[in-house]
């Protein structure tokens, strides 16, 4: 739904709509151009060269066409594993966050004492800096940390784990950290979705003899579906960029067994100085995730635009 521009006032004072619109939007566009579009173009150009900081100016670098890209997609197992790993971690995290978030949101549709306290408490994790979240869980997962203590109390000494010494537990630690950090976002978005389900159709359906399952799928779900998709898209966007928490938890170790895409690109660029190669990896990721989100987003474009709730 496009809105009509404000009608010209009868007195015809002032500037035309076009000029006003420009005055208002130009600063933001300039900043975006300078600070987002330009670096992206530089990175795009770079990804087709073999430039590295030791080779002087970027424009003296040799043009290598799609070599970086083919290298990544065919030979670079570390990159391919990072992509698969990130995808796996994202899928598990999103499923768990969604399930826990929905469960809690449904409980919040009931009446109980101290509701507003619980609500604030459940939102706390998402307010904490990712770096600090990573650090907290790094402490909790230490071999002499509280998590192992609880495991020992519950299941005996053989249940204690070296969380950061081998791949499966380390990935598990990353997932637990992420789920703790971001379940509140799902909870918050789904709760606001549940609250916006109109009550009258629900009542009418019950009176007309629909069973709870029918009520949920036929009446509640149509309202909830766009909200769920928005939550998934927002979270998917962030989780594929997962960096801060993993950096603090494991630095991608042991070996490269918890390396996410962002962490791999970071190491390529800032540890190995393979900047051009890192840029190519980034564009591959961008194209891939755009396709994914595009598929997810198609049914709810208008929702995102209008946001009429």
């Amino acid at each position: 739904m496009t809105q009509a521009a404000i009608s010209t006032s009868p007195t015809r004072k002032g500037l035309s709509n076009k000029t006003i619109a420009r005055i208002f939007t130009v600063p933001g566009q300039v900043v975006s151009l300078l600070v987002l579009v330009m670096p992206l173009l530089v990175a795009l150009y770079m990804s087709f060269t073999d430039w590295s900081p030791t080779r002087g100016s970027l424009f003296d670098a040799g043009f290598v066409g799609f070599d970086n890209y083919s290298e990544l997609l065919i030979w670079d197992t570390r990159f391919i594993y990072a992509v698969i790993r990130t995808f796996l971690i994202s899928t598990i995290c999103l499923s768990l966050e969604f399930s826990f978030g929905l469960g809690l949101a449904v409980l919040f549709m009931r009446k109980f004492r101290g509701k507003s306290f619980f609500f604030s408490a459940f939102l706390t994790p998402m307010m904490i800096l990712p770096v600090v979240v990573g650090y907290i869980f790094w402490m909790l997962f230490q071999s002499n940390g509280p998590i192992n203590q609880v495991l020992e109390l519950a299941f005996g000494a053989e249940a204690m784990m070296e969380w950061f010494k081998s791949a499966p537990p380390a990935i598990f630690a990353v997932i637990i950290t992420e789920v703790w950090h971001w379940t509140p976002l799902f909870f918050l978005i789904l709760l606001s979705g549940l609250n916006s389900v109109p009550e009258n159709p629900v009542r009418a359906a019950v009176i007309l003899g629909a069973n709870p399952r029918q009520v949920f799928w036929r009446v509640v779900m149509p309202t909830l579906k766009p909200v769920i998709i928005v939550a998934f898209v927002i979270r998917a966007m962030e989780v594929i960029k997962l960096f801060d928490e993993v950096f603090m938890l494991t630095r991608g170790g042991p070996g490269s067994s918890t390396e996410t895409i962002s962490l791999y690109i970071y190491k390529l660029a800032f540890n190995d100085f393979q900047l051009a190669y890192g840029a190519a990896a980034a564009f591959l990721v961008l194209v891939g995730s755009l396709l994914l989100v595009h598929m997810l987003l198609a049914p709810v474009r208008d929702q995102l635009l209008e946001g009429d709730k």
Partner: protein, 286 residues
């Protein structure tokens, strides 16, 4: 629908969830007030024997731990704290002001094209590590590397989509008749927006400012790759502490983490009703 109470089982689930959510927060708070003897004890100590504020003191005075016979904090966190405050304060102000103008422009005069969300999303989806690469190169060439100016520029660019769309959703909520009335009274459009629109979305403006503050204060990776000696922020300093001290100075690290957390948690509670709106670019309004 809203009249049912929690069943006993659901109450138990709620209690367990509360413990799981709050335990990590409890742990970091406790660690921050532990004396050095409790830091790395096996088995771990949950509640410190003698709570102390010495860890916080050490952040600004590295010799404060002397009385415990512990050295090893090479760097005070003073610069990082001031750096975080400076960069966050300026970047948040700029982001909100520029975003406010864009929001009014888009909401009142924009042609909402169908592709806009996708454009925003693509900007958000590019791995930050890769955006950082061209920045480092460009900034090295124009002397902005390791400077607050460069850091602030990136902070503004990264948060601008959030401030623009969050504010736009508040402007959208405002009936345009109010502005039109002011225009009919003979005010120019520009004046009508400045004197009518902006005061009427005060609450939204405050919430957006706080939300952008949270984002800027939390930013880690750009600060990490753009800072060497002149510039530091709290998250970068925390990473440095953890690396440099190989996990022995838990108390001091935890104190810095708590210092970083507290403002955000306070601000977060203040604007909890608007968090969903900010996170979803205004798509979800509570």
């Amino acid at each position: 629908m809203m009249t049912k109470k929690l069943s006993p089982l659901q109450t138990v689930i709620m209690g367990i969830a509360l413990i799981l959510v709050l335990f990590p927060v409890f742990w970091i708070l406790m660690t921050a007030i532990k004396p050095p003897t409790d830091w790395n004890a096996s088995p771990a100590i949950w509640v410190p024997s003698e709570p102390t504020l010495v860890n916080f003191q050490t952040l600004f005075d590295p010799d404060a731990l002397g009385k415990y016979g512990v050295g090893g904090v090479s760097q005070p966190a003073t610069k990082a704290v001031f750096g975080s405050i400076l960069a966050t304060f300026i970047a948040t102000t700029l982001s909100v002001v520029i975003g406010l103008f864009s929001a009014i422009g888009i909401s009142r005069y924009g042609n909402n094209s169908k592709s806009t969300p996708l454009i925003i999303l693509s900007g958000r989806m590019f791995p930050p590590a890769a955006i950082a690469v061209p920045f480092v190169i460009i900034f090295s060439n124009i002397g902005l590397i390791d400077s607050y100016t460069g850091l602030i520029a990136i902070y503004v660019a990264v948060t601008l989509p959030f401030s623009t769309w969050m504010l736009k959703s508040f402007v959208d909520d405002l009936p345009r008749e109010i502005e039109e009335a002011a225009m009919i009274d003979g005010r120019s459009k520009l004046m009508a927006h400045l004197t009518v629109t902006i005061p009427l979305i005060k609450g939204g403006l405050f919430a957006t400012t706080m939300f952008i503050f949270i984002l800027n204060w939390s930013e880690f990776m750009f600060a990490l790759v753009l800072s060497y000696t002149n510039v530091s922020t709290i998250p970068v300093q925390l990473a440095k502490y953890v690396t440099a001290t190989a996990g022995t100075l838990y108390g001091v690290q935890a104190a810095l983490a708590v210092l970083a957390m507290i403002p955000l948690v306070i601000v977060g509670y203040l604007i909890q009703g608007h968090l969903a709106r900010g996170m979803t670019f205004g798509a979800i309004k509570q």
